[in-house]
Amino acid sequence: MGGVGIRSRSSLWWKYLKEVWASEGWGRSFEDGIKWKVGDGKDISFWEFNWLGCDALKRVFPRLFSISSAKEAMVAELGSWINGVWVWQLPWQRFFFDWEKPLEDQLFQILLEVRLVPGEVDSWVWKVGGLQTFLVNFAYIYVRKDREVVSSPAFSRLWRCKAIPSAVLTTWRMLENKLATRVNLERREVSVENSLCCMCGKEEESYRHLFFDCSFAWHV
């Protein structure tokens, strides 16, 4: 679960997203695209999650993690509000050795920056695009960034043209040979009377024939 862990509130959509990310071997992980916005700290696992932007604390301070006696605690459980000021109370299994003391100081130095907000739920902020909200468009660009996209110049022309969407879509399907021509229907094992072109009746109705070779198409 390294870093992502709102289990109780997960939706179907989130489940699918996780499956896609797990199966397709995306160039970058979803987790690299988000950061935690700390609220009351009840949903953030102190040691397990990367909630400070520097990797999970158990990996930054493995030594301290090993002697912590609250390895699974949430952020909210490791401190309390005293006179309106958040005071960290990290429980340890034993006293520190002298050489471990600087590590603890380092940890507290980092924790000093943290501002908990009582009454506000911990949330994610989407880092890509600078808008803080999740846009599918940005996510798409983000995950596609490391993958090679081969796009024909014909398509950028196609998307810029001023036709209505359905016509553009028909043309796109035609360019990709995805229209339900009789040849394609046969290939998909749909029964058709014959695979001959309905306009000239001489040749098979493939997309090439239909739009380019057919004698009727020549007239147009």
Binding site: L158, A163, F211
Partner: protein, 94 residues
């Protein structure tokens, strides 16, 4: 139309010296022809229509004119002008 790869046919359906906005018009016309052609083919199959190239051409003229006069605000030519002098009309669009 030429017998080559559809994508490059589409890509080459333009005038190399004309401006971007004119080439957008050419690609729109190409899309108009393809989509209307497909419509026509479906009419023939499902409504027992008869193949008629001049009807397809006329419908493409109407469709493309209506698309661009709605989508491009500066369009100021009438449908009859579009039919008579399409090249002049295309150049009028900025």
């Amino acid at each position: 139309m030429f017998h080559i790869d559809p994508k490059s046919n589409f890509d080459q359906f333009r005038l190399s010296r004309s401006s971007d906005s004119v080439n957008v018009m050419w690609s729109t016309i190409w899309v108009g022809v393809v989509s209307e052609f497909w419509n026509h083919r479906n009419f023939i199959i499902f409504k027992r229509d008869v193949a008629d190239a001049s009807e397809v051409f006329a419908l493409v003229q109407v469709n493309v004119w209506s698309w661009i006069s709605v989508k491009i605000r500066s369009t100021s030519f009438s449908y009859s002008n579009w039919c008579l002098e399409p090249l002049v009309c295309m150049r009028m669009i900025s």
